[in-house]
């Protein structure tokens, strides 16, 4: 599923945020098979490296049906920037992690903050956008121009 999206958008370099070894291995395999270069950001220029990558793949902790939102709980800003800097963001979402309404997420947010202390949680609802000029909507400003949510697992 990943490879066709990336290939059709001419993606050459990809970076992966934190995810379980099992999923990571699967993702890596399909990327290597599609001839993608996987970038591992390290050192003092992490942000610059990430900024030059074509696509970022992240794992969502949960999603919200009402608003079409994916939620990412991060304790490391490399993961946050993986969905913030590249032009294309692919978000993996396990099917049974979808809530109905935005307001239902309160207890998940609370427990994430309680468990991890320092954290950055992002609720992401589509590509970055602005209507600042003449109130006309344009997609793609500072964040991704495209967001793809790929679901997996059983409903």
């Amino acid at each position: 599923m990943l490879a066709p999206i990336l290939t059709s958008e001419n993606v050459q370099t990809v970076t992966l945020a934190k995810m379980s070894m099992e999923i990571r291995d699967k993702v890596r395999k399909s990327l290597i098979h599609a001839n993608m270069q996987i970038v591992e950001p390290k050192g003092i220029n992490i942000s610059r490296t990430l900024s030059e990558v074509d696509a970022g793949i992240t794992l969502s902790n949960f999603a919200i049906a009402e608003t079409g939102t994916v939620a990412e709980i991060c304790h490391q800003d490399v993961d946050r920037l993986t969905s913030a800097l590249p032009r294309i963001h692919i978000c993996l979402l396990q099917c049974d992690q979808i809530l109905g309404a935005l307001t239902e997420s309160a207890s998940l947010l609370r427990s994430a903050v309680k468990t991890y202390g320092k954290s950055a949680i992002s609720l992401i609802s589509g590509p970055s956008r602005t209507a600042d000029v003449e109130l006309k909507l344009v997609l793609g400003v500072h964040g991704p121009h495209q967001v793809h949510v790929v679901t997996y697992g059983e409903e």
């Binding site: 950001p41 608003t67 800003d77 309680k114 320092k118 609802s125 000029v133």
Partner: protein, 697 residues
């Protein structure tokens, strides 16, 4: 100064058209999003309850928020003044030896004008929100709370960026975005400090919520070594549940989205790679907020969630814009904020408000903005004195008994070119505006001689007539009396004054209070006996139900009168439903109907519209969504701050009536009638007169 600025703004027709279109899109998108809520009042009540609760527990929430934030390693600084907040940011820059500050949108940083001292000290500050960046390069202040550059056309924006980059950026939104992404990406990557605002603070965990659509908020919060959040103290709520309700409210009310694209919950500073030596600072700003909280007149202003909806519905704002109708905080809610935060002398634009009341009706926190604006006007009038023209217009009603007594002469005199020129010169009444024509036979005179003949089981209702019914168009209350008579309901007309609303509109609250007290005293004995009071003029009904209790500290008497007051239309409709009034003659054709502003606070003419349909008419509500522009007596004043503003506001509405066909034009308000008749050249008929045609006496 205000008048000159306004005059200039009224001449910029292209800009006005762009602003008008943008505001309309804003209102439409919001309305569309709200349709998904089954219960708009429930949505408002929830937001209002959360804000009220938070403001009244502010001290406690502030303490909990700080403790929790510090536990996560966040440095919390309470800034009492703008200078203290600015100095704090400067001290961080000095300590870390940085030079570049990347900012995401923060109205609070605009409030304290943070960029000025930073730039003066030699640091570079770059706004990264598109709208903010545009006005930063144009060296302007925000034109709108949510859309700071709403007044710039695509062409102007491309010119601004072309000038910045010295290479041409085409006047194409996609191309502009591409330029902005590239130019600002380097700023994000090299910034030493990221500064953002916060939409909400959550006390239970010491978390701030930052909402952006462009994605710049996430970048300034994660890439630079130091992230500084500047937040007004009123933004703190207790729990995640409350925060989520506000997040939904912000998006729906500000942009008509279901949620803002990026909502970040930031709790302590997360590491970047192996670098965990990074800082997070919360500057919690007072800068006059505590004082506002303690000053009962303005406490409510702190419930503002900064959605900007009030400016999207404000007619004077629509034709003057945020640089005239604003200081740093623009629009209706900007008036109490400016008066309290930046000073009364910066809040002169309060006089552009003509008290239509629509800002309260659209506000998701149900803030009584008009009430606070009238307080600001009062403070200004007390400090600077009242304008002569406002005094004359306030008095206009007190001259009415005399004018009516000599009506033919008065009307003739008032038609003389020379008299009108003189009135314009001396008193500031615009000579091109049609003045209401007085009738010799006042309603109360007719009433004294009215035919009896009610049967013995007649019930009675008290009538509040107001200015237009008494002096200008007695046919309207007469139609009402006849409609009621057909159901054997008699009318009691106790002594009464006209509503006195102009005193509220012009900030003479003490005089308004006098009239309120007098009318309440005269009506209370009836209310006490459980007698219903019916009122024809929407502004008068609004006064009886809402303004009087406010002016009289919610006294028992004022509340009793308010609770017994009904719109005449509601009363009539009840009688129709009980089959006591029978519409035997059916009328045919289409009525183009204008809902007056104060009706929005009542029932949006619901009962009248149903009644008109009931007599066979097709009702076509024709609205721009804003005030028609006459707004009481405001439009009678000469110059930009009166007739000029009024005509500019009315123009799009008049077009709606001139472009389409209709058999009748109708509105319940006497003032809207004057404005519509003069603007369209067509006759406007009161709905009660149409209903009268449908009964047989």
């Amino acid at each position: 100064m205000l008048v000159e600025k306004l005059k200039e703004a009224l001449h910029e027709e292209d800009r006005l058209a762009a602003l008008y279109g943008a505001m309309k899109r804003g209102r439409d998108q919001r309305a569309e999003a709200l349709e998904e809520f089954e219960d708009f009042n429930g949505f408002r009540n929830e937001i209002k309850a959360i804000k009220d609760r938070s403001i009244s527990n502010l001290d406690q929430l502030l303490e909990e928020f700080s403790i929790q934030a510090r536990k996560k390693g966040t440095q919390v600084f309470m800034a009492q003044t703008a200078d203290q907040a600015n100095d704090y940011v400067l001290s961080i820059l000095k300590r870390i030896g940085g030079h570049l500050v990347a900012k995401s949108k923060s109205l609070t940083s605009e409030e304290i004008e943070l960029n000025r001292p930073l730039e003066a000290a030699g640091y570079s500050v770059v706004e990264t929100d598109l709208g903010e960046r545009i006005i930063q390069l144009a060296k302007e202040k925000p034109f709108h709370l949510v859309f700071p550059a709403i007044h710039k056309t695509t062409q102007e924006v491309s010119d601004i960026f072309s000038q910045e980059s010295r290479i041409p950026v085409n006047s194409d939104l996609k191309e502009i975005m591409e330029y902005v992404r590239t130019a600002l990406r380097d700023v994000f990557l090299s910034a030493d400090i990221g500064v953002s605002g916060a939409n909400i603070g959550i006390a239970e965990s010491g978390t701030v919520v930052v909402e952006t659509n462009e994605g710049n908020g996430r970048l300034v919060a994660s890439i630079p070594k130091v992230h500084v959040v500047i937040m007004g103290m009123e933004k703190i709520v207790s729990t995640f549940e409350e925060a989520l309700a506000l997040i939904r409210g912000h998006a729906v009310s500000a942009t008509g989205q279901r949620t803002t694209t990026y909502v970040s919950f930031i709790t302590g500073r997360t590491p970047l790679g192996s670098d965990s030596n990074r800082e997070l600072h919360f500057i919690i700003l007072d800068n006059g907020r505590k004082r506002m909280m303690e000053d009962g007149r303005f406490t409510e202003a702190l419930s503002c969630i900064r959605c900007g909806a009030c400016m999207n519905i404000c007619a004077p704002y629509s034709v003057s814009g945020g640089h005239v109708f604003g200081h740093i905080y623009p629009g209706p809610i900007g008036i109490p904020w400016t008066a309290n935060i930046h000073g009364l002398d910066k809040a002169k634009f309060a006089h552009l408000c003509f008290s239509c009341g629509l800002c309260k009706e659209i506000c998701p926190a149900e803030i009584d903005i008009p009430r606070m604006i009238s307080k600001v006007k009062e403070m200004d009038v007390q400090a600077e004195g009242q304008l002569l023209v406002n005094r004359v217009l306030e008095k206009y009603e007190t001259m009415a008994p005399f004018a009516s007594y000599i009506a033919p002469v008065w009307n003739w005199v008032m038609h003389r070119e020379t008299v009108r020129t003189l009135m314009e010169k001396v008193a500031g009444i615009d000579r091109t505006r049609a003045l209401p024509q007085f009738k010799r036979q006042r309603f109360s005179k007719w009433y004294r001689n009215k035919r009896q003949g009610y049967t013995s089981d007649t019930s009675k209702v008290v009538l509040f007539v107001d200015f237009f019914g008494e002096y200008i168009e007695p046919e309207v209350p007469i139609a009402l009396v006849e409609l009621l008579a057909s159901a054997n309901v008699d009318v009691i007309l106790p002594p009464q004054k006209t509503s006195g609303y102009p005193f509220v509109a012009y900030g003479d609250l003490r005089k308004a209070e006098e009239i309120a007290r007098l009318n309440v005293t005269l009506l209370y004995p009836y209310a006490k006996q459980g007698q219903d009071i019916i009122s024809i003029e929407p502004t008068a009904t609004y006064s009886l139900k809402y303004s009087y209790p406010d002016l009289l500290d919610r006294s028992h008497e004022s509340l009793a009168v308010a609770s017994r007051t009904f719109e005449a239309s509601e009363y009539i409709r009840k009688l129709v439903q009980q089959q006591q009034i029978l519409f035997q003659n059916k009328l045919h054709g289409k009525v183009a109907f204008h809902i007056s502003c104060h009706e929005r606070a009542l029932t949006s003419s619901k009962h009248t519209i149903e009644l008109l349909k009931g007599i066979g008419l097709q009702v076509d509500i024709r609205e721009t969504g804003m005030c028609c522009g006459m707004a009481g007596t405001f439009g009678l004043k000469t110059g930009p701050l009166g007739a000029g503003l009024s005509a500019a506001i009315g123009k799009p509405l008049f077009e709606l009536y001139k472009e389409q066909r209709q058999d009748y034009i109708s509105s319940e308000s006497g003032v809207c009638k004057l404005q519509l008749q003069q603007g369209t050249g067509l006759e406007v008929i009161h709905p009660l007169k149409l209903l009268r045609k449908a009964i047989v006496l």
